[in-house]
């Protein structure tokens, strides 16, 4: 039969690339994703890799995976189950078998299914029997042999040859999904611009894979996922860390300030520092500090001196920054603190995602020390919330913690490129030269923010610091002054509510059950709710991006539902926050603490159970 006869039209498909850490699966996944995005699919990705740079070859612990969900209509999650699994070795099968959809396709490199490797992967002997692989459609190809063959005349060393295996697999997948090579070849050209032999080898192997799939008898039908019907405009794919970095850049441009970032590398937040370090063309002052404390303290210094100041980190780093956050609260300087959450406590699961730093963000400091807390909820809206965090910090003169997580940081999706014109201006309360007395803690009547007189401004010399002080900045131990200042700082944060949009529900204002989420679980919760609604359940979703202060209409929204269920990737932190804030409601919980995103299936099951209770 010819190609078109075997085409299966699908609304959406999930593909997972997996192999050893060294097998290049992250790259393969990214290339496939970008190609699909350019094709016009909506998509969502989820890289999932071990903490070691190269975990032991051939073991389950060493498997690196990249999952991508491409769709004809909107796609909110990387998908629960894969339709197609690329597994470069037995360990990849072992690690992923439970995540493949019944009847899905597994592409394996049969050259790697030696007895030694099978045992190493943790099978007794026979993967097919042990993992009931006959439920799946297995495409077994001697990839290693074929790659050697394809490159045998090129005079390359064996290592280089083997390193192109991922391109063979990618070629097969491109055939399966009927994608072209344009993007991939361009990528290879720019990446290896100084090594034409490498470009050629990769390109040869890519095509070899494609043609092998095309000519192979046992090949599965090919999938067709038509382009998504998405809003008109120019698009790109973007991951959460880049989006965060760019959102900050946008804020600096809109505020007319230099951007300073003082950070220390830490997984999964390093990408933000890296993305900004690359932007010297836009004048970014990126400072790799000696540790997290220096990261935030240089940022506080830069804020004092008039820059848009940022520090980025993950949980353990946020812990180290706690004391200095207090200093920013006390000196009432604008500061954006980004925390890309990962599995904790302690070093925990550094490459896995979790939402367990919420309480730390709210309360992890000595004394009465409130800050604004915001959470992004998709890879691309990290841009929006980073921008907003900076705008609030600058206009309200307050530190803002922006929470993202490993899932958002590394995940990517197509994003409609905003126009800078469409973004709001940011107007920090900067003081100009002058002779009249400058009173550092005099407050704006509405926002309660103080003014910003930066060193270098004539006639505005003043002193600030971490001790309690009067409105003039003079150190003061007067009891009533302390109480007043504590309450002013809290009220200033509370009044940020004026910038917080009302919370909207998906899709009803009232009903049986309101699923409540925050941050990076948005896609999974929304998909689950939409599916439940299709099944006729009276379920809606309220998903929070503003944690402190909460949207003004929160209680009102809650009161429209019989059951309130808070779902989060921790042991119950947002729910505690809500219990403190809203004594009049009772909340149920769905929690998962596994270093992994929710699956829609889990959420649906639990909601159905709670509906029946």
């Amino acid at each position: 039969m010819n190609k078109s006869e075997r085409v299966i039209e699908r609304d959406e498909v999930v593909i997972r690339f997996s192999g050893d850490s060294g097998d290049g699966m992250q790259l393969t996944g990214t290339l496939f994703s970008n190609t699909s995005a350019l094709f016009g699919n909506d998509l969502s990705t989820f890289p999932d890799y071990p903490a070691e740079i190269r975990a032991p070859q051939g073991t389950v612990g060493g498997v690196s995976g990249f999952q991508v969900h491409v769709g004809h209509s909107e796609v909110y999650t990387p998908g629960d189950y894969a339709d197609v699994l690329v597994a470069m070795n037995p360990a990849a099968v072992k690690a992923n078998a439970k995540f493949i959809r019944e009847g899905g396709t597994i592409i394996i490199d049969e050259d790697n299914f030696t007895e030694k490797n099978i045992i190493k992967a943790g099978y007794q002997k026979d993967p097919v029997a042990e993992d009931k692989l006959n439920r799946f459609n297995i495409i077994s190809a001697p990839i290693t042999t074929l790659v050697r063959e394809a490159l045998k005349d090129k005079g390359l060393d064996p290592k280089t040859v083997l390193r192109t295996k991922n391109m063979f697999a990618l070629g097969m997948v491109y055939w399966l999904f009927n994608r072209d090579f344009e993007y991939t070849e361009e990528y290879l050209k720019s990446k290896f611009s100084k090594q034409p032999a490498i470009i050629e080898a990769n390109s040869t192997v890519l095509k070899a894979g494609y043609h092998y799939a095309e000519t192979m008898e046992a090949m599965t039908p090919i999938y067709k996922v038509s382009p998504a019907r998405i809003e008109r405009g120019r698009y790109r794919t973007i991951d959460g860390n880049t989006a965060t970095a760019w959102g900050l850049l946008a804020a600096a441009e809109k505020a007319g300030l230099d951007l300073f970032i003082g950070s220390y590398p830490i997984t999964p937040a390093t990408g933000i520092l890296e993305a900004l370090a690359a932007r010297k063309d836009l004048g970014v002052k990126s400072f790799q500090a000696e540790d997290e404390i220096a990261g935030i303290c240089t940022a506080i210094g830069a804020s004092f001196a008039g820059n848009l100041a940022v520090t980025s980190t993950s949980g353990p780093g946020l812990a180290l920054k706690s004391e200095a956050i207090g200093l920013a609260v006390m000196t009432e300087l604008p500061l954006v603190i980004i925390n890309v959450q990962r599995g904790g406590p302690s070093t925990g699961l550094p490459t896995k995602t979790e939402q367990a730093d919420l309480m730390q963000a709210l309360y992890g400091r000595n004394g009465e020390c409130p800050v604004v807390v915001i959470a992004a909820s998709t890879p691309s809206n990290c841009f929006k919330y980073a921008f907003e965090a900076a705008a609030i910090a600058l206009e309200h003169m307050v530190p803002v913690i922006l929470l993202t997580d490993g899932f958002l940081a590394n995940g990517s999706e197509p994003w409609k490129i905003p126009s800078m014109d469409a973004l709001p201006e940011i107007k920090p309360p900067v003081v100009k030269d002058g002779d009249d007395e400058f009173i550092p803690y005099e407050r704006d009547e509405k926002k309660l923010s103080r003014k910003w007189a930066v060193p270098g401004t004539k006639g505005r010399e003043h002193r600030i610091g971490g001790l309690e002080k009067t409105v003039k900045g003079t150190v003061s131990y007067i009891p009533e002054n302390h109480e007043h200042m504590v309450r002013m700082r809290a009220e200033k944060v509370a009044r940020v509510v004026s910038k917080v949009p009302d919370i909207k529900t998906y899709d009803d204002d009232e009903g049986e059950l309101l699923l409540i989420g925050w941050g990076g679980t948005y896609g999974h919760l929304l998909t689950a709710v939409r599916e439940l609604r299709k099944e006729g359940k009276s379920v809606s979703l309220a998903h929070f991006n503003h944690i402190n202060p909460l949207p003004a209409n929160t209680a009102e929204v809650f009161s429209g539902f019989k059951k309130l269920v808070v779902a989060e990737l921790n042991a119950g932190q947002f729910v505690r926050h809500l219990r403190m804030e809203f004594e009049d409601f009772r909340f149920k919980q769905i929690n998962k603490i596994q270093g992994l995103p929710f699956t829609c299936t889990e959420i649906k099951e639990q909601c159905i159970k709670l509906l029946e209770e």
Partner: protein, 338 residues
């Protein structure tokens, strides 16, 4: 740095805040020396930013009429680094104590020095934690009996000069609270030096470590116990200026002038020599046996971090393709949906 030249008196640099150090504390004299040095720099007042940590000495910025930031314990080097990088036009000063800079703040201190960020660090060394009422510090003499070492400490102290040089320091000087004239002179040189400059200022804490530097401040003993180094001058000291320093192989030696030994035999001070060998020896000299070196011990020109960063940005921007956010957002692979 700004080119504008202004005329200000030391008094113009005093703020209206009550000075809260103990009567007799050496910090008062340092304040006097600093305001003198500032006035001599002829820079407009608003260009100065004084950043401190926590400690008695770290209260300093409140007493100046410049921009000031009283930070948290140990972090002044980091805060000051941020200030300087955000605005390289400023004259940035760090005020810190032996505890603030060398205990909790040790890491930021050595990293600022290594990077050679252009900040002027005045390190108040009273060999004690003053503000917390008398515990030993990383510079307290071995065996010191303090509130947390009732039977004497069992650890060797840091020598600030040695640590600074070990951390790639390009400027190190030493002065003492009691010599306001010398202090003012040295602070000014520190300010004029481009890159991190550290001025160890021996300071007397009358309450918790009174007399720690007495041999160096007392009129009767100071001239024999200290040597003031000056660029290009022979290293001669003593009440009667009859003693000098000489190299004996790789070691420093005190010699008496006369009896065939003349000024020509005496080492000539060269703070600008890149090789830190002699500077380390000078910084390490201790009573008894050697005079304690005062003045600018090391002052080597080297590129600063802040200028290098500026330079790199300028270079990248010169033929940049991406000039603003709209350019960036549209760079790389994008596609149009119609």
């Amino acid at each position: 740095m700004t080119e504008e030249i202004v005329d200000l008196n030391p008094g113009d640099f005093k703020s209206d805040q009550e000075v809260r150090w103990c009567p007799g504390c050496g910090d008062h004299a340092v304040l006097a020396a600093v305001t003198r040095a500032l006035a001599e720099l002829k820079i407009p007042k608003e260009k100065f930013a004084f950043i401190s940590g926590i400690g008695c000495s770290s209260r300093f910025p409140y007493y100046l009429s410049t921009f000031g930031f009283h930070g948290i314990h140990g972090r002044a080097s980091a805060i000051a680094s941020g200030v300087k990088l955000a605005n390289p036009e400023l004259s940035v000063w760090q005020i810190t104590g032996d505890g603030d800079a060398m205990a909790i703040g040790g890491n930021h201190f050595i990293h600022a020095i290594r990077r050679n960020i252009d900040i002027n660090i005045i390190l108040f060394n009273n060999e004690i934690y003053g503000l917390t009422k008398g515990q030993y510090s990383p510079t307290s003499t071995k065996g010191a009996v303090t509130k947390t070492s009732p039977f004497g400490t069992v650890e060797e102290p840091f020598n600030p000069g040695e640590l600074v040089i070990g951390a790639k320091g390009k400027f190190f000087a030493r002065t003492i609270d009691s010599n306001v004239q010398l202090s003012a002179e040295v602070y000014k040189q520190a300010a004029l030096h481009e890159g991190t400059s550290v001025v160890e200022t021996l300071q007397n804490c009358v309450i918790f470590n009174d007399g720690a530097h007495k041999q160096l401040s007392d009129r009767k003993t100071r001239d024999d116990n200290t040597i003031i180094l000056r660029q290009g001058e022979p290293m001669i000291f003593g009440k009667n200026r009859d003693k000098g320093l000489k190299l004996d192989g790789l070691k420093m030696k005190v010699v008496k002038l006369g009896n065939g030994i003349t000024e020509k035999d005496i080492l000539v001070h060269d703070a600008e020599e890149n090789n830190p060998g002699i500077h380390t020896m000078l910084a390490n000299m201790r009573n008894p046996g050697f005079p304690v070196a005062m003045g600018v011990i090391r002052a080597v020109a080297a590129p600063t971090y802040d200028m290098a960063l500026r330079g790199q940005i300028a270079k990248v921007q010169k033929d940049r393709k991406i000039k603003n956010l709209d350019d960036l957002l549209r760079s790389g692979s994008t596609w149009e949906s119609k």
